[in-house]
């Protein structure tokens, strides 16, 4: 069985050096993905190397609903903006049932305009928010939620092609400000709210806002934070239709019909009629792509299929030979009208949009531009562009054949 992650995003692990105070979080250079999937109603929180299979995570934590939290390590939202300095975007996975924790640094390209490496874009925050809510046991419509961060104006001064670059980061640490400020974070989670006492790690910055993302209302920075947040949110919205491999690199999704919209029954049935009239022998090509049981059931001896085992090759050939032109036409039309075929078109479209174009085109002998990859590198085309490239490739292949 394969894994179908609920969400996947680029992130690396951090090593927490607890040998000295303040603790130091050291980002590990290995490129990877954090991803979550659901099995038996439990969420698995996983990390794997970029090159490894999703079925082979280095870290695989089975999460009990509400036990885990996934929150940014965000110096900006604290009452003391200078409290901690980092040079990366870090999220922390913690548990209410233990003091264990894991830190991850985001490896997607930073969206910051003022070279603030800690700047969390609305998309970064959205991802964190989705993960956090999944860990609370909420049902989250990931596609929808991410789409909600897409549909506004883009910043004109940012080059879309940069989206997919990996961020480099040398070091992250919470340090310097060890002085007490327990009394000031009135809006934040109280000590112990998430189990481990974060202050012991020198992560002072968490207190005011990180736990539950509530900024301390008493602090003077809070109102600006809110308007900042809204402004930043609106400004840095990016065309990211999804996070999976094929889609990440393409900017705003190209509006292009899905296969089901290109191949409605009215069109496909008419094409079968046209082929039957002009080149009836070609109908057999289509029959060869149907399940053998279906051919036998349509033939003159349907009992040759027992419902369990595939019918013999001989039974299939006999059935095929027994089919009249009319019977072939009506069998093909029946399949083209079936809900199963339409579901399959949906799956195929999705696979194309999600980065499957190179392998699918290859398997079908369709000559697509640049093998289905982006001209700039090794990423497969995604989204509407991938479906378009597929259909354009079909056109080219059909023309070349002549």
């Amino acid at each position: 069985m394969s894994i179908q992650p609920l969400i996947t995003f680029k992130a690396g692990q951090c090593e927490l050096d607890t040998s000295r105070r303040p603790y130091k979080a050291k980002p590990l250079p290995e490129l990877g993905y954090v991803y979550l999937y659901s099995e038996d109603d439990l969420i698995h929180f996983c990390w794997r190397k970029r090159d490894d299979e999703a079925t082979n995570p280095e870290l695989d934590l089975v999460m009990i609903p509400t036990d885990g939290s996934f929150l940014p390590y965000d110096p900006k939202s604290t009452p003391q903006p200078s409290a901690a300095k980092t040079n990366g975007r870090i999220y922390s996975l913690k548990f209410s049932s233990s003091s264990q924790r894991y830190l991850f640094w985001l490896q997607s390209k930073s969206q910051a305009r003022n070279n603030d490496p800690t700047y969390l874009s609305p998309r970064d925050r959205k991802i964190g928010d989705i993960v956090h809510r999944l860990l609370q046991g909420e049902e989250v419509d990931v596609t929808d939620e991410l789409a909600s961060v897409n549909n506004t104006d883009r910043r004109p001064d940012v080059d879309d092609d940069d989206d997919d670059d990996d961020e480099t980061m040398e070091d992250v640490e919470g340090h310097h400000n060890q002085h007490e400020h327990r009394g000031t974070g009135s809006g934040g989670a109280g000590p112990g709210a998430t189990g481990g006492d974060v202050r012991e790690e020198g992560e002072n910055s968490r207190e005011g806002g990180a736990d539950g993302a509530r900024a301390a209302p008493s602090s003077s920075s809070a109102p600006t934070d809110a308007s900042d947040a809204v402004r930043n949110f609106l400004e840095s919205l990016r065309g990211q239709p999804g996070l999976s491999g094929g889609q990440q690199a393409q900017g705003i999704d190209k509006p292009y019909p899905h296969l089901s919209h290109l191949l409605p029954t009215s069109i496909t049935v008419a094409v079968i009629d046209a082929i039957a009239a002009n080149a009836p022998e070609r109908l057999d090509t289509f029959l060869n792509f149907l399940p053998p049981a279906v051919i036998v059931l349509a033939g003159n001896n349907p009992d040759a299929f027992d419902g369990k085992n595939d019918p013999s090759a001989q039974a299939v050939e006999e059935a095929k030979a027994s089919l009249s032109l009319e019977a072939k036409k009506s069998l093909l039309k029946k399949v083209l009208r079936s809900p199963q075929f339409h579901q399959a078109l949906g799956t195929l479209t999705q696979a194309l949009r999600d980065g499957g174009l190179p392998s699918i085109a290859d398997a079908l002998g369709i000559n697509v531009e640049n093998g289905g990859y982006l001209s700039s590198g090794g990423m497969p085309l995604g989204g509407g562009q991938a479906v378009e490239a597929f259909v354009e490739g079909v056109k080219k292949t059909v023309k070349d054949k002549k």
């Binding site: 996947t8 399959a344 369709i366």
Partner: protein, 318 residues
């Protein structure tokens, strides 16, 4: 990852083939289109009813004091076959087996299921559910009816709400003179009072009508499948050739649909796209091709508009 259960469709043909492949003989499912006792009565001998609904519902499911209707019969958890549900995607199969496992007097459930019953009837309900989810045979047969998914891309996200609705299956069946509701998410079988097999159609419709009335009219989406004796067997006994021919045709349709369900359509779809593109080029050249794509985009926009306006299709899970 061999222990996974895939979702299967709630469909009379799928369920009938599923139990046949588990070794059950002369039993079939019929989809019920109305909540009418007389429609149910025509299917006698009737073994039980599978009720499928969207879950969770807008109403509380049960309270600490008991279910919304009927009473918990904790003694029956042991004496009849009742299994706690441990795996979401197995719930359809579990509901079917809940009926069959209590009908071994009336139905030939085959050697595999007989052995399974004998083994698990001694266990408490939660272990019966566990044993069921761990049965390789039952899982393999169940999974053989899952839709073919040739592209299980590892980075693929769960797609949009249209496929995400969760459904729950429960069973109603008369056992030992009592009408039981067998719901693996409840702590015990729920008794709805004394009931003979003859009274079952009337009684179960009463219970179902009360159940449906508890939900908001727009909220509840449900589906009812009756489990009854193979209708072809009766047609043969009565010499009803018309019924027999109709039922044989239905069987063939089920086999046809099941074969398509399991089919990997990629190659076929590829041929269809090629043929359509070729035809469009032949009819209208590049212009005809462009027009075809443009019309496709219009269709997509219309479909998306329609989906936002209404519910769209519902897929069965659980």
């Amino acid at each position: 990852m061999s222990g996974g259960w895939n979702t299967i469709e709630s469909d009379a043909g799928v369920f009938t083939s599923l139990i046949e492949n588990l070794g059950v003989k002369d039993v079939q499912f019929e989809e019920l289109l109305t909540l009418d006792p007389s429609e149910l009565a025509t299917l006698q001998p009737l073994y039980g009813v599978i009720f499928l609904f969207k879950y969770p519902t807008d109403q509380p499911y049960s309270s600490a004091s008991g279910p919304q209707d009927g009473t918990f019969d904790h003694d029956a958890s042991q004496s009849i076959f009742f299994a706690a549900q441990t795996i979401q995607n197995a719930c359809a199969t579990q509901a079917l087996l809940s009926v069959l496992m209590n009908k071994q007097q009336d139905v030939d459930i085959g050697s595999h299921l007989s052995d399974f019953r004998e083994f698990t009837i001694e266990l408490p309900p939660e272990f019966r559910g566990e044993a069921l989810s761990n049965s390789d045979l039952i899982r393999e047969v169940h999974n053989s009816f899952a839709r073919s998914t040739p592209f299980a891309d590892e980075t693929q996200q769960q797609r949009s709400a249209e496929a995400e609705d969760v459904f729950h299956f429960i069973a109603y069946t008369p056992v030992n003179g009592v009408l039981y509701e067998l719901d693996g998410l409840q702590p015990a079988p729920i008794s709805h009072g004394a009931c003979t097999p003859e009274e079952f159609p009337t009684r179960v419709v009463d219970v179902l009508q009360r159940r449906i009335a508890r939900y908001d009219a727009t909220e509840i989406r449900f589906n009812l499948l009756a489990m009854c004796r193979d209708l072809r067997a009766r047609a043969r006994e009565f010499g009803d050739d018309e019924l027999l021919a109709r039922e044989e045709r239905k069987r063939k349709d089920w086999l046809f649909e099941n074969a398509l369900r399991r089919h990997n359509f990629v190659g076929f779809a590829g041929e269809v796209v090629k043929a359509v593109v070729e035809e469009k080029l032949k009819e209208g050249g590049e212009e005809g091709y462009d027009k075809w794509v443009k019309e496709g985009l219009e269709r997509r926009k219309a479909a998306e508009k329609a989906r936002r306006a209404g519910d769209g299709d519902v897929e069965m899970g659980g």
